[in-house]
């Protein structure tokens, strides 16, 4: 592992039952960087994220985080590592029976012995950082999609993690919130000195903020590079994805029977 790499993924393989999902993934994510993992739905992005978080065990290869091979850790070791991680789930996954304040305070109360006054100040600082200090008494059901995402972001960084993972942070939010969340991801990464991994298929928003991009298709990394390299890439897959073209290496039609045969027409 290179001295500056926080996450090292080597020859990672994983299969659900006998269906391979990840097929020999290799990635090196340096400390302090913000990287994006892009690809179509079902290409294995979220499965990869779950391996980094230690929720899944690979069928081959490994994920090394801060020098530790994740799948070799027991439950206690895994929990120790997870205290150093923050994760933003696709739809926020805020605890619906707790207020915004209690959601952000959750990890502080669970993992620290901090007095209530300090927790109060820390929660307000985290909420202020995402621009939602005024929502502290609201319940998650009273928040819009974009606001939920930002509260979840405040909760994910509550204990100043060294690694922040984002699962589709831009999915289903309005254009203003979209820019705001993107900007927050970049600012939080830099101000906390953290390393961030964004799993997304929002090309334009993520290319604006990330340092490096991995493109995945059918369980393998098909392209990688800086945002400028990706924009200039002449690889067919990347070109189709970045420019949102309907047809290309990823076909418009799902494989099926011959169209004429399906309609019972004579050849």
């Amino acid at each position: 592992m290179t001295a500056s790499a926080l996450v090292e993924i080597r020859d990672l393989n994983f299969a659900y039952d006998k269906r391979p999902v990840l097929k020999g993934i290799n990635m090196t994510i340096p400390k302090g960087s913000l990287i994006a993992i892009m690809g179509l739905s079902g290409c294995g992005k979220t499965t990869l994220l779950r391996h980094i978080g230690g929720s899944l065990k690979p069928t081959g290869g490994y994920v090394k985080l801060d020098g530790q091979v994740m799948h070799e850790l027991g439950r206690d070791g895994l929990y120790v590592m997870r205290r150093k991680m923050g994760m933003l789930f696709q739809f926020g996954a805020l605890f619906t029976d707790m207020s915004v304040y209690d959601n952000v305070a959750f990890q502080m109360r669970e993992h620290t012995e901090l007095p209530d006054e300090i927790i109060h100040d820390l929660v307000l600082m985290k909420l202020h950082a995402v621009g939602l200090r005024g929502t502290q008494d609201l319940m998650p059901s009273e928040l819009s999609g974009g606001m939920s995402r930002r509260v979840a972001l405040a909760r994910a960084v509550a204990l100043d993690p060294m690694l922040i993972m984002y699962d589709e942070p831009f999915a289903g939010i309005d254009p203003i919130s979209l820019g705001l969340v993107g900007d927050l991801i970049r600012r939080l990464n830099d101000s906390l000195g953290a390393t961030s991994i964004v799993v997304t298929h929002d090309v334009q928003e993520s290319l604006k903020i990330v340092d490096y991009v991995y493109f995945m298709a059918e369980g393998v990394v098909v392209a990688e590079g800086t945002p400028d390299q990706i924009r200039a890439s002449d690889k067919e897959y990347v070109h189709q994805f970045v420019h949102g073209e309907m047809d290309g290496p990823v076909p418009f039609h799902y494989p099926g029977m011959d169209y004429r045969a399906d309609l019972n027409l004579r050849a």
Partner: protein, 262 residues
């Protein structure tokens, strides 16, 4: 061919059922193992006691009152044939503390609090709240399941006692106030015939056992529910059906052990 398929299907279902019992047993053991925080941070359990116990009070009290009143009416009609109307208090009280209190309260608890627990945990799973908790290095069995389990186990005997007490009062209203059975014999016969250990304590043991079974089924079904709308609704239905059957079967077993030969 179809016979082979039928045998295969029966075998598959049997294996599946045994497998689920195994998983549920492991879930029960984990719940007990990770129960420490439910007592160290008792406010977590108290919060759940409110939503499972206190919020079930209305249905328990109303149902208890009506069951007691029906017992008063039916009991009077039957006892009158033998000229034993004065034993109405004994009949109402014994029926309630031995059987109807624990059983009906547990059935109501399963449909009111049990279904709510399953739906809540199933939806927490569907909306990734449980995964989020895992990722925050917080054990969901310790934080979500155990406090609810102990809240259910503590609530159930108290709710059953409340049901029996209100039921006795319902029997009193109908038997003494409305029909006119002698008040003195109603209470005195009840007092002399109801034994603390054989009747009340056995009733409490029953409701305690029902509390464990119903809460465990509700929590397991929620935790094991497929994370979809259909999955959660199916799990909620299974909680009510399985709990109700389990209560009735367990009641027979416990009654056979407690009252055989008495």
């Amino acid at each position: 061919m179809s016979a082979t398929n039928t045998i295969r299907m029966i075998g598959h279902r049997a294996i599946n059922a045994v497998w689920r019992i195994g998983v549920a047993s492991r879930f029960f053991i984990y719940t007990l193992l990770y129960s420490g925080s439910s007592f160290r941070r008792f406010r977590l359990t108290i919060k759940e006691l409110f939503s499972t116990g206190v919020m079930s009070l209305i249905i328990i009290i109303v149902a208890g009152l009506f069951v007691g009143m029906v017992l008063g009416l039916q009991g009077y009609e039957t006892l009158k044939r033998y000229g034993s109307e004065s034993a109405l208090g004994t009949m109402v009280a014994l029926s309630l503390v031995r059987e109807l209190g624990p059983v009906v309260a547990a059935l109501l608890f399963a449909s009111r609090a049990g279904s709510a627990m399953t739906a809540e945990i199933g939806l927490m799973k569907a909306t990734e709240q449980i995964s989020a908790m895992e990722m925050m290095a917080v054990n969901p069995i310790a934080r979500i399941v155990a406090p609810r389990f102990w809240a259910g186990v503590i609530s159930m005997p108290l709710l059953a006692a409340m049901f029996s007490a209100v039921g006795v009062f319902g029997g009193y209203l109908v038997g003494v106030v409305q029909i006119g059975v002698d008040e003195g014999s109603f209470w005195s016969q009840m007092q002399s015939a109801v034994d603390f250990r054989d009747d009340i304590l056995n009733g409490v043991i029953k409701s305690f056992a029902f509390g464990i079974v119903v809460t465990l089924i509700a929590l397991f079904e929620g935790f094991d529910a497929p994370p979809t709308a259909e999955g959660v609704s199916g799990a909620t239905t299974r909680t009510v059906v399985t709990s109700s059957l389990a209560i009735l079967m367990l009641d027979f077993v416990l009654t056979a052990i407690m009252f055989r030969g008495n």
